[in-house]
Symmetry: C2
Subunit: 229 residues, 2 copies
Amino acid sequence: MTSAGPGRPRKQQPVRPGATARDEILDAAAELFTGQGFANTSTRAVADAVGMRQSSLYHHFGTKDDILGELLKGTVAGGLDFARAVCAAPRPAGAVSAAAALHAVALYDGGLLCSARWNLGILYHLPEARAERFEPFMADRRELRQLYRDLGQRVEEFLPAAGGPGSAPLGELVFRLVESLINLRADGLADNDSASQTADAAVVLAGLSAQLNEVRELSRGLIADYGRG
Amino acid sequence: MTSAGPGRPRKQQPVRPGATARDEILDAAAELFTGQGFANTSTRAVADAVGMRQSSLYHHFGTKDDILGELLKGTVAGGLDFARAVCAAPRPAGAVSAAAALHAVALYDGGLLCSARWNLGILYHLPEARAERFEPFMADRRELRQLYRDLGQRVEEFLPAAGGPGSAPLGELVFRLVESLINLRADGLADNDSASQTADAAVVLAGLSAQLNEVRELSRGLIADYGRG
């Protein structure tokens, strides 16, 4: 029998990925929310998909919103940790190393969006996800966006010709392109190259396409230093 | 009394924009679908929001899905018409005029996404909107994406250095950036400059930032020629 957390032991072996019953609930909910819609999924259906009683599910999550909140936070957590680490590292000494930091964050964050088991980002703009109770997720996502902007600004500081009045901040454009990987995936068009192509586009937007190979190499180094295995 | 289409006359003057009762239904549904969610909105609630009996609503739309299908089609219709016209116009003679065509489509299409009364694009990736019955919308959106790709390819043909193996097609990146205006708007961050900044980013992605003013001028000409007032 498998038991984890405060719930009572379940009657069967885990059928879903994850070390704990809680992880299994999250996985089942992610499948149902992305497959048939959040409003159309009951906690009963989630419990059934884990092979658990609904009352056991409530030991782990008080409401369906709590499950969604945790899932949404999970979509930005890995990218946010990495972006924080890159931003806290020694400041880049030139445009190429500044661009490498932005490239690395786009590649790492975008890679997570493309490779996550479920494409939960399609739920970001649900009216239901705008509620106050999802503020922890929204705050993380705002912080991530701001880190992209900060990294973009470091690049722009080295390139007085780039940006300029009336143009969109580089970091904001890159954040938007990375999040659009969610749409690309929903459209069935994402592949193994999508995240790296998106990161490379950040370098082109910075006006540094001639230095692309150099940027890529430094970016690989940052991911080796600050990424999780 | 106002009457239009096959429905019976309504009891009150129109309270929503649109020339016909059908338009009013679409407007009310768009407000409710984007504000409280598609699954959470009943046709009864839509009828109430127009001041119409539910039975009258059914004279215009057989199901809630029919309303959603029509609304989704409306989000791409204007951009698609414009992109078709630009693609059918005489082929550009050089990189700058090719980039102007892509810029114009991004600006026109993005402008419509930013200025539409309701931000319906947030419904694109609803699991519910993936159903077979929304295929007419999906087909239009695929065509629009392909026109972006075609216009991007015309630019790339003039610029052998751009693109290259392993990089994302220019038109695809621009399509993604334009659609990300939907997210920007949902986040409350879109403003009057967002569409033009996005169109300008297409020129930077093409490696033509030095010709930006020239591209913008030609783009204005295309919008004057092929846009709807």
